[in-house]
């Protein structure tokens, strides 16, 4: 017998109710049950970070969290970053600094950076610190330079009044 649980959560502010098997990962639930396919799975063992989403504001690897653990939570995914057709400042910085090529890892980096910038609003971000943060996730295309630059540029811009 499948061990199915009924849960409620919001994703990018939208409420969802669904029945989910206990062993189903948050990533599979978001992608295949709720249609948020912007969250990507690169390793399914918590190293690459492509599946990073915000669970009640904190970045998590959605491949290492079960869907049922998101019961009652607010989840943010990459689909929630833009304002309508308008890219967020962070998304725009990624494009300006050529911080993506294939774009598969990009949602994970965006959510990681978004969480960091929200948590550290107002403080100055140095290059070493930015590089250390970016080192949490894997990218196979860019060599990371554009990602670090995009993060630094967004942090600088958000500091300006």
């Amino acid at each position: 017998m499948k061990d199915v649980h009924e849960i409620r959560l919001t994703v990018n502010g939208r409420p969802h109710e669904l029945a989910v098997e206990a062993r189903r990962t948050l990533a599979d639930m978001l992608r295949h049950d709720l249609g948020y396919t912007g969250t990507h799975l690169g390793c399914e063992h918590g190293i690459c970070g492509a599946c990073t989403v915000l669970l009640d504001g904190a970045p998590v690897r959605a491949c290492l969290v079960f869907g049922v653990q998101a019961d009652g939570a607010e989840v943010r995914t990459v689909e929630g970053l833009a304002d309508g057709e308008q890219l967020s400042d962070l998304q725009q910085a990624f494009s300006d600094h050529h911080a993506l090529q294939c774009g598969f890892c990009t949602p994970g980096f965006l959510m990681l950076a978004e969480a960091y910038l929200a948590e550290n609003a107002g403080s100055t971000l140095g290059e070493d610190e930015a590089r250390e943060l970016v080192a949490a996730n894997l990218c196979r295309c860019t060599g990371y330079q554009g990602i670090v630059e995009a993060l630094l540029a967004t942090a600088r811009a958000r500091q300006r009044p």
């Binding site: 970053l81 833009a82 050529h98 250390e132 080192a135 295309c141 330079q145």
Partner: protein
Amino acid sequence: MTAIGTRLPRQEDPRLLRGRGRFGDDMSAPGQLHARVVRSPSAHGRVRTLDVTEAARAPGITAVVTAGDLPEGMVIPVRLAIAGTDLSAFLQPVLARDTVRYVGEPLAVVVGDDPYACEDAADLVEIDIADQPPVLDASDAFDDGAFHHGDQRCTAAELTRCYGDTDAAFAAAAHVVRIELAIGRHSGVPLEPRCLLAVPDPDRGALAIFGMTKVPVWNRDLLADLLGLDETLIRVHAIDAGGGFGVRGEFYPEDFLIPWLAMRTGRPVKWAEDRAEHLMAVNHSRQQYHRVAAAFDADGRILGLTDDIIQDNGAYCRTHGVAVPELTAAMLPGPYRVPAYRGRVRVVLTNKTPCGTYRAPGRFEGTAAREHLLDVAATQLGIDPVALREQNLLTRAEMPHERPISTLGTDLVLDTGDYPALLAAAVEETGRLGYRAQAGAGPGSSTGRRRGFGLAMFVEKSGLGPQETADVTVSRSGAVHVYSGGTSLGQGIETVLAQIAADALGADPRSVRVTAGDTAAQPFGSGSWASRSTVVGGSAVHQAAAAVRERALELAARILEASEEDLDLTDGAISVRGDPGARLTLAEIARAAAPASRYLRKGEPSGLSARRRFEVSHMTYPYGVHAAVVEVDTGTGRVRVLRYLVAYEVGRAINPMLVEGQLRGGVAQGIGGALFEEFRYDEAGQPQAITFIEYRLPTAAEIPPVDVLLCQDAPSPGNPLGVMGAGEGGINAVGAAVANAVRDALGLAGGVGQLPLTPARVCALAHATPGPVIGGGP
């Protein structure tokens, strides 16, 4: 004419940044089944039992198939055949029947309603294999010419690329220098695992395929042959791909199995591999053993070069056949004046994952061997490494330089360039950026940390033919549509082709929409690989767009009752010089070319569109210099790359931002292969790197900012755009430059012996008592 050469933001970015890309596992079809491949747990053995009874009875399972269910003789043929080699005995069956030859070899496929249920059922397949001893060390073939293992023949092919009299060159030499260098086994490892969705249309007998991204037309045709279908009944759709790097999109066993299961069940079938599968199933690459030697005269001029190469090809020959080691042998002389050369390759089969290409295939390996040899030679001859290279480089006056050898079926003609000028520019740039000073200003030997500087030079190849086809159409809205046979793997092909089409058409690149790799929209494409998309695909787009421009001018002249010579095409509109009122947009001309338009003459085809085929018989050869500053911790064996420079001649950069991105990304992958990434096996042939914990991709902490000196001084004479490929110049010489820098840091007399330079190997090199130097006198 400003669309080419600008750092235009990528057209691909908005959808990817918003999470709206369409990657393989994002695609689904109503009623789809999921597939799970059951793989061999043993490296080598006879299949005694393969019992799927229990798995087939598991809840939610539709079918479990084994080799016995397949049509007879299902093997995957070679795509890149090299004349003079017969690999028919070494091809991979789509499912193993009696014998398994590597861990991860497909044995069965489970299909069912839910991927979790399929994975559960796959564990219920009963497998009993009578293990046989595995062959794991291809370098044994150095000592055993025939190299049999039991009754198993292990050498699949042997080939030689040579010219001149190397025996005489070595006999006459004042100095002979030899090194051995082993290159580790690694792979492209795109961040998106492979995925396929096959959607059948039982009434038409047709199939739609999502996820074949690299050579979709070739894969479609092969699949049609294997399934006994007319190829036009199969449509491969263009979707996003999470990185290619050579490994994605070749025809693997799954590329037959998933479509075949869809046809057999009459339902869509989807397969998404997991990372462990990827690391043991997708093409490996790189693993070679080199015994390379150079003969010099008393002044340090190269008289001859030889390399005895063994390629550990894994268990089978896949679609690339022996193209990778052939490229190693053919490209080994690089940018130098080499009067006599002999490169011999033996392709040895082992009980490991089969090999194919990985970005700069054969050249990462060959450049490492040659450039490391030159640094060892510089030490032994007492010459500065840069000076040794300078005096042996082919000069501008010697270009084009024809080497009497062939590669990939084309004559090797180094078409253009000024190698000494690029070397000089790179050396100057490292000086300006303080590389030498930083290498010399180490923290002091008492800390156990030593710094070193390394440099390497290389010739790349790009723009492999024989052809690419492009269609360019202007629709009623004035939008320009490009249908290319290239595919989008993250390299930015949509943006680049839009810039090329916009340039030829005098249109805004943002009005250009590119479809790349849809076999219905472009049935004559050759795909994206071998750094060919901008060169060959771009030239086809250029020609098709130029033809559309001619047609637009012809129609405009007719409509405006003007002479074509008096017309200007700018900003997407044609106007009559000196008559600002007489102006037609491309949209208006497209409407004037629609069927039943009064402007069309009898018998004239409708539409503002053109198809052009760009054919090319020779490749074009970009070139570059890499330089690295490293710091080696002799206590821990850790190597940090502090600085990295790529100087690269690209002919002409359509979008410099994307070229720099290609180079920087290539460097990062190269550092992975030089220091971290390695597929190791235990003595039973069990793979030891099947997660990202053991297979160590570099993170931002290991990759320094990469300095790029992008040169556009030698436009290629072989195509109308003057472009050369940029995809592989960033990775080509990283193994060489890093090995040379580590050798410099440690003050080694000989070579480093092996890549990647893992901490254990670096410690061994740092603490080895200096032994006799290999080579010396003739």
